[in-house]
Symmetry: D2
Subunit: 262 residues, 4 copies
């Protein structure tokens, strides 16, 4: 087991724990809901070093994902499926870092602490939350599946009281996206020594390889949110939300440093 990049120390013997170094291989069933908010609303959620998109300054995307993800070691999905499988809800804001247009991830909730820790290493601001979405595959049509007219839902219950739900309708079968926009992430790890500078404070973009999208549906969508959470202003669409569902596979092999703060 290589321990380059691992989060936890290893003993003098053969023991390795924590999140292994990349590559990390992901398979995911995804519901994406896109809509517009006021650019100033969105901009209030951007950190230093990330600016409003020059192209789509008020675009928000909510993604609900049912994911299986593993490292390079064999067998994780067989012997530890509870570590491999999780659900995720992501809030993505169209933004840019210098000239690099992409998706800044302002919020993410996952159901599994392996995903949480792998995300924090990369700059995804993850928390554990309750996330569920309609199954993409089931022989029982009443309980899930996708076909013309099918509806799927995603529901998040976050620890700060936010409840976010989406409904996606399968109306059309568009082509897969050629080249999804990159993620723009704020990777931070604080110092604990006075004065409290940050040990790590970087804008990074994950390097994503072998990305495929298959089995895409698109159609109208609905977004609803309740609670007194900070993020509420992001969930008030000014237009009619549009959505896609798809299955995807990709591998994250590392990250590109976009900017180092400070």
């Amino acid at each position: 087991v290589t321990t380059l990049g691992s989060t936890y120390p290893i003993g003098g013997g053969e023991i390795a724990r924590g999140i292994p170094a990349p590559p990390w291989h992901f398979g995911s069933d995804v519901i994406q809901v896109d809509f517009q908010v006021a650019p100033a609303t969105l901009a209030a959620f951007l950190p230093p070093g990330i600016e409003a998109s020059a192209i789509e300054p008020g675009r928000v995307q909510i993604a609900f994902c049912s994911v299986a993800a593993v490292g390079d070691a064999a067998d994780q999905s067989v012997v530890a499926p509870g570590d491999a499988n999780f659900e995720e809800c992501l809030v993505k804001l169209r933004a840019r870092a210098g000239d690099l247009e992409g998706w800044y991830v302002s919020h993410s909730w996952v159901t599994n602490d392996v995903s949480l820790q792998r995300g924090i290493v990369q700059g995804f601001p993850k928390r554990i939350g309750r996330v569920a979405l309609t199954r993409f595959d089931t022989v029982q049509a009443r309980a899930g599946g996708r076909w013309k007219g099918a509806r799927l839902g995603g529901v998040l219950e976050a620890p700060d009281g936010l409840r976010l739900s989406v409904v996606h309708e399968c109306a059309e079968r568009p082509a897969p996206t050629d080249a999804p926009l990159p993620f723009l992430l704020c990777r931070r790890f604080p110092s604990l020594f006075a004065p409290l500078d940050r040990s790590v404070d970087e804008i990074v973009s994950p390097i994503i390889e072998n990305a495929v999208e298959v089995d895409v549906w698109s159609g109208p969508a609905h977004v609803a949110a309740s609670g007194a959470a900070d993020a509420m202003p992001l969930f008030e669409p000014l237009d009619r939300p549009w959505s896609r569902s798809l299955r995807t596979a990709f591998t994250i092999t590392g990250a590109r440093l976009v900017n180092r703060n400070g």
Copy 2:
């Protein structure tokens, strides 16, 4: 909303809660592992009214399932996917009630309290546990999926300390089972009034309709258990375990009364 069969009271208005009456529609990805234990070992787990099978008196089946299940009301899997979707680990013992050969369910653990309550109403002795299994469907072959030579796993962590895991290998593509054996369940609901008789104490068998099995694989399997739990003797195979994986859909419309105790 019909409230016949519902577990909870309804108000004078339009409010209904709890588990609705059947029918209940299930879609499930299943890994089944079959093996033999000593007939006396198995018989020690049978309740009054259930006897050793005359045909296969020591056969045990462990089933790991990833399930979507809904009632007859529309939309549950869309607006409440967290109530519809769950994982389950079942321990099934070959047995009979009089002349009716079937599977007595001695243990079941689920990840969701809707499944827990729907199970208790039927006589499945359910508890909440941690259950995970390899995904059947993913575009990312490293993180799941089934093909010749693929291996899948299931892992249970039960509240009494039992940890049960199975590995299933996809070696062959057998035909689906024509007519699975019925379940034999002990449906109990105790009196709380002295003397403490039981209000309900029945041997029942769920009525299962429209059952289909598709996409079956079979192959060798491995079973491992640890902990000091009561059920441990059931997880020491005397032969080489054999396993199947499959997708299934079925509807439970009620139950047949096999025997009423007392």
Copy 3:
């Protein structure tokens, strides 16, 4: 192990599982918040056999509890503290069954399936939810504890999207309640056989012995709710909520049958 009253079958040997028969011994730290709603609002949540209180027809109480509960068997809190300890949020409506004035429990959420099942046997309409309340005892005053002016909170996140929170202030030290009102519960266990009658449909009242209240504080309170849940109308106080916090111990030894429906 006596198995009278147990919910699950036992084997021919020494094996017993599920919820044991009463007595059940409870220790609980409780925050109670009382307020008024319109009597018609409350009455809409009452089931057949339970009527509006003749005395306080619109009174609602929300209780947040941190509980340790065990059966009569020794050692459960030592060897299985995860089964003994749980948090609970109860919604209690002032009501009567015939001449018996008491608290009808319309909703309850708990964090543990032992409590869930013990509750269902008694007629508490329980579901698993996320429940947390400020600790009553800690050497760290910033993180909990009760003294004049201290504030404590309780937060529920229910699976149907209801988020309910209360804040309780420790202002006064009143005497303990002499004789709390009895619970009025609807104990139901449905038939699964056509026609779908109910196997059990009773109004019952738990028999509570050795009840003590100690260390009572009272003071003003605040209630907030969000989400689109059915229960929302119950959480709109017409007056200023008042609250108590206290520690309690009691034993449930069975139940009294108040009325059998049908």
Copy 4:
């Protein structure tokens, strides 16, 4: 809200999320079980930069804790008790970094992701696990509490299959510990850029202020472990385990850099 030391980025507005900078205030009910293993067994779990203790080279301590912890912001335990309260199981190994004798924390499991993230920032190798311990305070003596002869238990179920349980007996009332040994932690945050060096790789020791221990009991103990986890060799005592239970409060104000690797 100061954001120095916070793990997550903040928006251009007033929004701050993630773990705030220290100080962090802890209140904890603790069961500690101490025993000896072979020094070579322990040493196999030490990382580079941490060596065997010169004084007690084979001493292991398992700690089960019920914790309330908050940052400096007011009200977290009132409005977000689910973020403040958690249970923890720690494995501590006697070790040293140069001349500094202390406790190296080789494993930690917690029930809450706020604790997880606050721990990772400090170098505690935390994962989410199921942890429960007998309540220290309850009016119901059958369900917890401490007195001469009382027994308390702690149970961990870890995601890798480890089940660890302890039983502590309250036999004596010793004086509180004057000055607990410091923690020695390995704080790591990996680079994601090739070549995969580590962005942060430090041996640190948290700065703990205002530490108090009260209400100490001590007595014999029992340790049991099952599962196929890496950590199993640490849980085979060579002597008779001894244990303490106590309540503690302390504040972590930062960390001292002991050594920077590489």
